[in-house]
């Protein structure tokens, strides 16, 4: 009986996404592989991440594909009533430090202006990257999901930070000294993280918290059809399409969730 | 006039509160208007005329006092009852207050919209009223396309649609030119005579009162300072203000000032002011005295006319002849009920 109802519901899965992920899922929805698996996918663009997660948690959106693990963790921590569950990993993409004026991180002068995202997880991730590049030092207990520019312990270069809507990153590139841009946004702005950034995240164990995931409402955690989306994403032909289109900047991560959790 | 009361205002006061001060717009006014009368209310701007008549249909709630309409105390009615009573009191305004979104016919139909009659019956009635006011061919026009006088005719037709018993006209002719004013007044007179509707008419022009009203009340600073039949008010105004109004209608004072300025003094000449009321004017006074006493009478100013059916005349003339004869004549005139005043030549005002 329950299986039955799940099958009828499986008729169409609404995937909420944004940016380049939205484009990828539009491709997936039309792919032969999706048909083969008997999945009907509808993709919806929601540009406000909070709304997208809320809508997913209360069931208006079945599955969403836009957030990193840290963003997901932060949401579940802050949201009192509606909780999400992760379905599986998709890819990891490096965030980069981009600049039109300077070739190397060490060229960035004292008092330079750095644009960072105004949403919490992207900002925290950016700050960690800046620390890695040796530009700043963060407080000991820095929260990788919710930490903000207030949690900078030392800022020897007296860098100035401008908080912007992260999607405008490529637009402001030529007016500030440096911008932190996530790859989803960078790709939209025709920026290639491996060649255009002056510094970027390594894709390894140390940055595994930044792996992107598919998420659904907690109550749908075990929905078989939703789980098939994870499999579908990692299909060869789909991966080839993504690799070609995004120059391999979206590094495929097909690991169990336990890989990040631990 | 049947003697039956149509409207009785009893000790009406209206007070307006504005910021810090309060204005006594109407103060303890008693006013009774008989069925079938045409009752004028005159006064300068701000006297409280509009406020007073707006009390009649309770568009303005009085601060104190009673409004009796026919036999009903309007203050005792509930909202629906008051609305019903209001339908018996038509009102026309200085600025017509027609609805520009409706045709002429639509405007006249408006008061009938709530009634349970067919659309045809309603339109029929409105058309009949438009015919009465001479605007049948304008039924489909919009108010914007009409002249001031035509708009006021539509407003009158609209006010008559509910078969009212009373028609209140608040300066209905003040925005119109004199010719149009006359035609509107003639229409009101016709409505009064043909349909027997009582009319209350506000104005600040004495000519309007003299040409149509039977009774008049003079208002000043919220009070009625004088009232009575129009003829009586014209003949013997008691208050300075009333006299002023009468004078502007007759031009007497202005003429007098001019004549006094130009007059030359002479032994055999006396400047005399005469006021006739009623039948005396019919009795060929001038011709008979000039013949009987062999006097030359040189008329410098005359205004003899009928007001509400009564002849009223003002005359300023040089009486030329022996002084003793002239004085005898004046006594004779006084005896005939004519007001006589010998004007000496002192510059300045002469109190008539």
């Amino acid at each position: 009986h329950q299986v039955n109802s799940q099958q009828t519901k499986s008729a169409t899965i609404t995937v909420g996404s944004m940016g380049s992920d939205y484009a990828i899922w539009q491709h997936i929805a039309k792919s032969a592989e999706a048909k083969k698996l008997g999945l009907k996918i509808k993709v919806k663009q929601v540009t406000d991440g909070v709304q997208l997660n809320k809508a997913t948690a209360e069931g208006s959106i079945d599955v969403n594909a836009f957030q990193s693990w840290t963003y997901y963790v932060a949401f579940n921590k802050q949201s009192k009533s509606s909780k999400l569950a992760a379905l599986g990993t998709t890819y990891m993409e490096p965030m980069g430090i981009y600049s039109k004026k300077y070739q190397k991180v060490k060229d960035i002068p004292d008092g330079a202006t750095i644009a960072v995202a105004d949403n919490p997880s992207q900002q925290a991730r950016g700050l960690v990257l800046l620390q890695k590049a040796g530009l700043i030092k963060l407080k000991k207990n820095f929260d990788v999901a919710l930490g903000s520019i207030n949690d900078i312990a030392s800022n020897p270069k007296k860098l100035k930070f401008k908080q912007i809507d992260d999607t405008t990153g490529p637009r402001v590139l030529h007016t500030v000294d440096a911008v932190l841009i996530s790859n989803t946004v960078a790709l939209e702005g025709h920026l290639h993280v491996l060649s255009d950034s002056i510094y970027h995240e390594a894709v390894d164990q140390s940055t595994k918290a930044n792996i992107n995931i598919l998420a659904t409402a907690k109550k749908n955690k075990n929905n078989e059809n939703y789980k098939k989306l994870v499999t579908l994403y990692h299909e060869k032909s789909i991966q080839k399409y993504i690799k070609d289109k995004y120059y391999g900047t979206k590094v495929n991560v097909a690991k169990p969730l336990s890989y990040i959790e631990k | 006039m049947t003697g039956k009361n149509m409207i009785a205002l009893q000790d009406i006061s209206v007070q307006f509160k504005q910021r810090n001060e309060s204005i006594q717009a109407v103060q303890h006014v008693d006013l009774t208007i008989a069925k079938g009368d045409i009752y004028g209310i005159i006064g300068y701007s701000g006297a409280g005329k509009s406020t007073l008549v707006r009390v009649i249909n309770l568009l303005q709630k009085p601060s104190s006092g009673k409004v009796i309409f026919g036999t009903q105390d309007l203050g005792q009615l509930d909202a629906a009852g008051l609305r019903k009573a209001r339908r018996k009191i038509g009102m026309i305004f200085q600025h017509f207050n027609l609805m520009k979104s409706r045709t002429v016919l639509g405007n006249v139909e408006y008061p009938l919209l709530g009634l349970k009659i067919t659309k045809e019956a309603r339109q029929q009635k409105a058309l009949k009223l438009l015919e009465l006011v001479g605007l049948k061919e304008y039924a489909a026009a919009y108010p914007k396309q009409l002249s001031g006088g035509q708009k006021q005719r539509v407003a009158i037709a609209r006010a008559l649609a509910n078969d009212p018993e009373v028609l209140i006209s608040d300066e209905a002719t003040s925005a119109l030119d004199p010719k149009t004013t006359k035609s509107i007044l003639a229409l009101l007179r016709q409505v009064n005579q043909k349909l027997g509707i009582t009319i209350v008419l506000i104005t600040h022009e004495m000519q309007v009162i003299s040409s149509i009203c039977h009774n008049v009340a003079v208002m000043d600073a919220g009070k009625i300072i004088e009232r009575g039949p129009v003829t009586k008010i014209f003949a013997r105004p008691q208050q300075k203000l009333t006299a002023d109004f009468v004078e502007t209608a007759t031009n007497v004072k202005e003429a007098l000032t001019r004549i006094l300025k130009q007059n030359s003094v002479s032994e055999r000449k006396l400047l005399i002011y005469l006021k006739f009321i009623g039948n005396t004017a019919q009795e060929s006074i001038i011709s008979s005295i000039s013949r009987d006493f062999n006097l030359d009478i040189n008329i410098l100013f005359a205004n003899i006319d009928q007001i509400d059916g009564v002849n009223i005349g003002y005359l300023i003339a040089d009486f030329i002849g022996a002084r003793s004869v002239i004085l005898t004549v004046t006594e004779k005139l006084k005896a005939a009920g004519i007001a006589v005043k010998i004007l000496d030549n002192a510059e300045g005002q002469v109190q008539l």
Partner: protein, 222 residues
């Protein structure tokens, strides 16, 4: 052509859908906002000092609520209204969900405009209707709304244009529409022709509504 608007040509389907979304949001929100706005606008006019149902307390309440709702910036409204949206339409994202913030964002503005329009109805005509024994309801429907119609049409035009402006922000909650195309595709991808094309279509809508409104107002202005 293909050189001038290379991206637009590839996106015909998206544009068609965005146009429908924008029109749907605009009309659906306009209908609900019109009803609420007319109700509130009329309520403001009749209860205010000198109105036909003068009521200081009620007026002050309506007035304050209107001001309050008007002071909430739409972008914040869009963010915080979701519990109400969920309650009313059962979802917080998508075109239909956007109707709730759109209506709440626009109807107090419309109510104010309606109030101003009705205040222009000649007070003398209202008084004449009262003198003829019309009830408050009759005066509202047969006088205020009818005499004020040309002005109401004018403010409706103005409001619907503001509403189109609001719909362009509704992409944040997945409502799509031309604003979303202009920003999340045209702007984010540097596909300037897409932004430009979306803006042109919005402008066409705006000018069309303006034209229709002006014509209609003239028809009802006798």
């Amino acid at each position: 052509m293909a050189n001038l608007i290379p991206n637009v040509l590839q996106m015909k389907a998206e544009f068609v859908q965005a146009i429908w979304e924008t029109l749907y949001m605009t009309f659906a929100a306009a209908i609900v906002a019109a009803i609420l706005g007319l109700l509130l606008g009329v309520a403001l006019v009749v209860t205010q000092a000198g109105g036909i149902l003068e009521d200081r307390l009620l007026y002050s309440l309506f007035d304050k609520v209107t001001n309050l709702l008007r002071s909430i910036p739409f972008i914040i409204l869009l963010a915080v209204i979701s519990p109400l949206t969920l309650f009313l339409v059962g979802t917080t994202v998508g075109t239909t969900a956007s109707l709730v913030p759109l209506v709440i964002g626009i109807f107090p503005f419309y109510a104010r405009q309606v109030q101003n329009a009705l205040l222009d109805v000649d007070q003398g005509v209202i008084e004449a209707a009262q003198a003829m024994g019309s009830s408050p309801t009759e005066i509202i429907f047969r006088v205020y709304l009818r005499e004020g119609l040309p002005d109401i049409i004018r403010v409706s035009t103005l409001t619907i244009i503001s509403l189109i402006g609001l719909t362009t922000m509704a992409g944040a909650i997945g409502a799509g529409g031309l604003g979303d195309v202009a920003i999340s595709i045209g702007y984010a991808r540097f596909e300037n022709d897409v932004t430009f094309a979306a803006m042109i279509i919005i402008l066409i809508f705006v000018f069309t509504f303006q034209l229709i409104g002006d014509r209609l107002a003239k028809v009802f202005e006798h």
